[in-house]
């Protein structure tokens, strides 16, 4: 038997997925008396709620209807700040803002009842546009700043200066399973909520606050989600809490499943950013000073925006040491749905911005971007301190790029591109690379903790539970591998079970790529605790020192004498040795002063590099990605199959953000792209036909779980290579106009950029 870790193992639900037997919330047998719920959404971007009349809806048989006034507890589900109502109270703040909710015996009856809710609005002027809201001073939270040194002096003293502006759009998560929760009232005001949530504890707190219950009275459970990507962190709490509020009033179970259109309209997305920058540098491209302002469109409330902007500012350095920096974050309030967590959590916007700076400097100097980047790479002291004060101790920046070059032969690739372009006037190719350095740990130190619960039964089978949630990313199989490895038993002896606030309390969200780092370590600690006790039993049995007891091959051995793992477990039980343990882990070494944006927020960095080749149709603006070579850094990968799946999936999702996915609002502030017919995520043909992933396979320098590294988010930013490659294709066009491209690079934006490059000014 090989070890259970560092080997490819399939997703633990793969067979259930392909057979259709994997149970998602909407597939659960419906409890007797279940009511189905529907939301009443504001049709106005900003309006005073003059009156809400629920009487017509309530007059229907079996219908329960609620508005803000029906909340017995507190109408506030803010995850970071306060005053973020569950149901709009006083004022509705965006088109799609939930104002009321109804529940009825059938889904059709619920939708009919929702249509009968009468809301009288007094329409107020709304801020729909980031620029206008920025100018108006509308903010959801105070500005942030990360930086050091005298930026003004550095800019003034630099031989060369450039400035610019770049924008990137939002992104809908488009998890295939929409937001859903089923709330089941129990005895004595208890509430059990099945929620498709990445953050069961926050859903628990949200439900308890809204219902005025102690946290202990609310249990939130989730076996699996049909995708989440950050969209089911704070946003799932809204759905869970509304279901629970309706269930509380109905005294019956209530299911709230958002239809796709409502899901897209009423729940938050990735933040669009506008970045303005000014850089001072020398003839080698080495930056002396960099001033960047990140204006984030946060939507109507703060939600997680302060943390998102904080991560953006802490990733705007990417791989580069910049002596004097000022990265300012402006958290702009608009009357659109509140933006929220999305894979990368601000880092993609931060990295995209600095890569534009690199690209512009490189073009200004007539150098390859790789040369300019290398002049600025983090290196030996004193060039190893980030603007927020963390020392870069474990850099694989140059190693990742070298690995990429070894696998892809960038010079030869570039020659091929140039040769193609020399004979192709309409279809033009571009090639670009993208390095990343991504900090792993929640910026908020407190969240970097996890708990696990492990039971060994007397037949040697193992029940595993932890605070992490399974959204498809393969967390459950990875943590099970860690536990199986600790006990030296086959993976299929470990059963994973639904995440529940009743089993492991006070958990952090499964977010920030931290799922296996935190929960894997907590589970390992619990498993080691039990293993230590079992080793004691086995040592006594064999009359050998405990240090000589080995757990491997499904056996507990000393020399050539052994017991099966099950026999050893049974023996421990007979001797009244406990076979259950909790494990608790907190990430060491980290600290961060949020007010000053200073400290060591990240336990370690993960690195990576990618190169992408694109072809641009200069007559239509259409783009096709032809090839991507990706170097991923997963440390000592716990499961290469899962990690490669995460890398490929994140890369393609990042491509979507930067190319085909575009959110559009109409003039009244209503989202116009409310379904897959209008909001286009990548399809199978959009994936580069040549897509190779290479893992660095270097143990983490820090003592993470079996020296692995986080994988969920970082590769999304490698897709910036695709967007830079489009810019490269533009730059290669005959013409001396600017290369200006915002994201997403839709055919419309690309065609306009082609015209601008060719003519020196925008036409389309």
């Amino acid at each position: 038997m090989t070890r259970a870790v560092h080997v490819p193992a399939r997703h633990e639900s793969a067979n259930a997925h392909v057979s259709g037997r994997a149970v998602y919330l909407d597939d659960m047998p419906e409890p007797p008396g279940l009511l189905h719920a529907a939301l009443v959404l504001s049709p106005h971007a900003r309006a005073r709620i003059v009156a809400i009349d629920l009487s017509a809806a309530r007059a229907l048989p079996g219908v329960v209807a609620v508005a803000a006034g029906d909340i017995p507890g507190v109408n506030d589900i803010a995850p970071i700040r306060t005053n973020e109502p569950l149901l709009a109270a006083g004022e509705a703040d965006y088109v799609g803002h939930p104002v009321a909710a109804v529940a009825a015996p059938t889904l059709d009856a619920a939708r009919a009842a929702a249509a009968l809710v009468r809301v009288e609005y007094e329409v107020l002027p709304a801020l729909l546009d980031l620029d206008a809201a920025y100018e108006a001073g509308a903010r959801v939270a105070p500005d942030q700043q990360v930086g050091r040194g005298d930026v003004a002096a550095a800019l003034a003293g630099a031989p060369l200066r450039l400035s610019g502006e770049v924008r990137c759009g939002g992104q809908d998560h488009f998890y295939l399973e929409g937001q859903i929760a089923i709330a089941i009232p129990g005895e004595d005001r208890d509430m059990l909520v099945h929620s498709s949530t990445q953050h069961p504890t926050e859903a628990q707190h949200g439900v308890a606050r809204v219902l005025g219950l102690p946290f202990a009275a609310v249990t939130v459970e989730v076996r699996r989600m049909g995708g989440a990507f950050g969209g089911k962190e704070s946003q799932a709490t809204i759905v869970a809490a509304i279901a629970a509020l309706l269930a509380h009033h109905a005294r019956k179970p209530v299911k709230l499943r958002l239809p796709r259109e409502v899901d897209m309209e009423a729940t938050g997305k990735r933040h669009p950013f506008r970045v303005r920058w000014e850089a001072g540098f020398d003839g080698d491209g080495r930056i002396a000073g960099l001033d960047m302002e990140f204006a984030a469109d946060c939507g109507n409330v703060a939600d997680l925006s302060p943390a998102v902007v904080s991560r953006a500012l802490c990733h705007a350095d990417n791989c580069y040491f910049i002596p004097a920096t000022r990265f300012r974050g402006v958290l702009v309030k608009t009357n659109t749905v509140s933006n929220t967590a999305f894979r990368g959590f601000g880092a993609p916007q931060g990295m995209l911005a600095i890569e534009v700076v690199m690209d512009e400097i490189a073009r200004h100097l007539g150098q390859p971007i790789e040369v300019v980047r290398a002049a600025n790479h983090y290196g030996a002291a004193p060039r190893n301190i980030t603007p927020y004060g963390q020392e870069v101790e474990d850099s694989l920046i140059e190693e990742a790029m070298a690995h990429l070059d070894a696998k892809a032969n960038l010079a030869a690739w570039r020659t091929e591109i140039d040769a193609f372009n020399a004979q192709s006037p309409v279809i033009r190719k571009g090639l670009a690379t993208m390095p990343i350095k991504f900090g792993v740990s929640f910026n908020l130190t407190t969240l970097n903790q996890a708990g696990a619960l492990v039971h060994v039964y007397t037949d040697g089978s193992v029940h595993l539970n932890h605070g992490g949630t399974e959204m498809g990313q393969g967390l459950f199989v990875k943590v099970a591998q860690v536990v199986a490895d600790a006990f030296g038993i086959p993976l299929d002896h470990v059963r994973v079970s639904a995440t529940s606030t009743a089993k492991v309390p006070n958990t952090s969200p499964t977010a920030a790529s931290s799922g296996s780092d935190l929960n894997g370590m907590a589970a390992l600690i619990a498993a080691k605790e039990i293993r230590g006790r079992m080793a004691g039993v086995a040592a006594a049995h064999f009359g050998a020192p405990v240090e000589e007891v080995v757990f491997a091959e499904g056996r507990v051995s000393v020399g050539n004498r052994s017991l099966s793992f099950g026999e050893a477990a049974h023996m421990a039980w007979q001797q009244r040795v406990p076979l259950s343990a909790t494990g608790f882990y907190k990430t060491p070494k980290i600290h961060f002063d949020m007010a000053k944006s200073e400290g060591r927020p990240f336990y370690y960095y993960t690195y990576g590099a990618a190169a992408a080749e694109v072809a641009v149709d200069t007559l239509s603006g259409a783009v096709r990605v032809l090839r991507a070579e990706i170097v991923g850094d997963c440390g000592r990968s716990l499961n290469p199959a899962i990690d490669i799946g995460q890398i490929e999936g994140a890369f393609v999702q990042g491509m979507g953000w930067l190319t085909c996915e575009e959110l559009k609002w109409d003039a009244r502030g209503r989202l116009a792209t409310r379904g897959p017919s209008t909001y286009k995520i990548p399809g199978s043909r959009d994936v580069p036909p040549v897509l190779n992933v290479h893992l660095l396979d270097k143990p983490n320098a820090e003592e993470t779980v079996l020296r692995s590294k986080a994988v969920g988010e970082p590769p999304l930013m490698l897709a910036i290579s695709v967007w830079l490659a489009i810019r490269d294709a533009l730059a290669g066009l005959p013409g001396d106009g600017p290369v200006h491209l915002d994201a997403p690079a839709t055919p419309e934006r690309v065609l306009a950029a082609v015209a601008a490059r060719r003519e020196g000014q925008a036409r389309a």
């Binding site: 295939l176 989440a228 309409v426 149709d617 799946g645 890369f651 379904g675 199978s684 065609l751 389309a764």
Partner: protein
């Protein structure tokens, strides 16, 4: 009559459901077959994909369909297979095993739909020459996955098509009914054109169902049924297809899937375009007549029909009349169809000697996307001059339209170099496009002019690469 069909090998009759209940709702709520998922309820994401075997289709035994916008009355007399129907008593179906072993699932929510698309592809193509990546992408175009990045799914598709087909028992579907009633709704399924015309005259307010890939959104999203509907799907005369003299006749009820091969043989550019209409799931149900009847301003096939100067056959109580498609389209989703008429067929003229047809669709995504803009051109270049041009565009006006100013500018003119600025001016005279969430008016105008430039290059400089997909 009750609705009767074979579901996963079991013959069932449904008497207590509305004919316009969606098949997805039926599967999930009435049969508790919850493997089939709702991801979007608009026939786009493919999580609800099922396999359908229909007597009226001449194509492969199993075709995929979006159960979320498929009405129960549309599957009367058919065979339906869901993800639950694949696994046998001995375990998973090879499609399921291969997908799982390829690490082709992450969150798993799209997986049942992907399994069904791969199943239909493998049953159709197994044992044939190696299946190209383009064919695999075409088969997967109607299935969105947000987790994997598709690479392992495409790998699974390759492996499956390389394996021999999996034998499966024949089954005899029940005889389809002509009147399907339930829950106060009545859906009529005539078998002859005479019956159809008689019903249309008798019930001019009935909803005419010709695939329901558009209408299906009403029960799916608005959750409203059709109390009275007439289906064209079993009308023999409306299923006809073939050359009649110099015209290719396509019955109005011919689905894209069934008509593709014939159309592609006659007009390769039209065939390539049809492969980009919706997805396989949509093309299983969508019909040429339905597309024309909808008269959408984009209207995927409509610019091609206009460029070909095609005719439409309209059948009514007074008999059959013919009309140019250009006259048939009268405005935004408006046609010249009388209340008591139905579209019977399309008639596509054969290309004249020296003529070529080009059609280009511009969209945000290559597959399964509504056109931002679509241009179709029937051209004959002779002696360096544009001897003949019929140019039509979708997405540029309230309806698909010919471009008379452009045609006037170009016909007879030297075609060696196109007049700079002249194209823009002509298109400005022809069209005043709108800005919407797909694109701005400025993009549409610029891109339309560039389609003419593309046409110029395609007809004068054959060596110049023009298609991204050719790479």
């Amino acid at each position: 009559m009750a609705i009767a069909f074979v579901l996963n090998g079991e013959r069932i009759e449904v008497a207590d459901a509305a004919p316009s209940m969606t098949v997805l709702d039926f599967l999930r709520t009435r049969r508790r077959l919850t493997g089939t998922k709702e991801g979007c309820a608009e026939g786009d994401c493919g999580a609800c994909t099922i396999a359908l075997g229909r007597q009226e289709s001449g194509a492969a035994r199993w075709q995929v369909a979006n159960s979320c916008i498929l009405l129960l009355s549309q599957i009367d007399g058919s065979e339906v297979k869901t993800v639950e129907g694949l696994a046998g008593p001995s375990g998973l179906h090879p499609v399921q095993t291969v997908l799982a072993e390829s690490d082709g699932t992450q969150c798993g929510f799209c997986t049942p739909g992907i399994v069904m698309s791969l199943y239909a592809l493998a049953q159709e193509r197994a044992g044939e020459t190696p299946v190209s990546d383009a064919d695999i992408h075409e088969a997967l175009a109607g299935n969105l996955c947000r987790c994997t990045g598709y690479r392992p799914i495409v790998d699974a598709a390759r492996a499956l098509c390389a394996a021999p087909p999996v034998a499966e028992p024949e089954s005899v579907p029940p005889v389809a009914g002509t009147r399907i009633a339930g829950q106060g709704e009545l859906h009529l399924v005539p078998q002859t054109l005479a019956e159809l015309v008689a019903l249309r005259s008798a019930y001019p307010d009935a909803v005419l169902i010709a695939g329901a890939t558009d209408l299906g959104l009403i029960p799916a999203k608005k959750r409203q049924g059709f109390p009275l509907a007439i289906s064209t799907r079993r009308v023999t005369e409306l299923k006809r297809m073939g050359w009649e003299g110099d015209q290719l006749v396509l019955g109005a009820a011919v689905t894209y899937a069934d008509g593709l091969e014939t159309v592609e043989a006659a007009f390769p550019a039209f065939g390539a375009l049809i492969r980009r209409i919706g997805s396989r799931q949509i093309r299983t149900m969508g019909t040429f007549g339905g597309n024309l009847g909808t008269a959408s301003p984009v209207g995927d096939t409509l610019p091609v029909l206009l460029a070909l100067d095609a005719e439409v056959e309209l059948a009514g109580p007074a008999g059959v009349r013919r009309m140019k498609v250009a006259e048939f389209l009268t405005g935004y989703r408006q046609t010249a169809l009388a209340r008591d008429e139905v579209i019977a067929a399309l008639r596509l003229p054969r290309l004249a000697e020296g003529e070529e047809l080009f059609a280009w669709k511009l969209s945000r995504r290559f597959d399964q996307d509504i056109s931002t803009l679509l241009g179709a051109f029937r051209v004959r270049v002779d002696g360096g001059r544009m001897a003949a041009l019929a140019a039509a565009f979708g997405g540029m006006a309230d309806r698909a339209k010919r471009a008379p100013a452009l045609e006037a500018l170009v016909i007879g003119a030297p075609w060696g170099d196109i007049p700079p600025g002249g194209i823009e001016a002509a298109l400005d005279a022809d069209f005043a496009p709108l800005s919407d969430h797909r694109a701005s008016a400025a993009y549409r105008q610029a891109a339309a002019a560039n389609l003419v430039r593309r046409l110029h290059l395609a007809t004068t400089r054959p060596g110049v690469l023009l298609e991204l997909e050719a790479l």
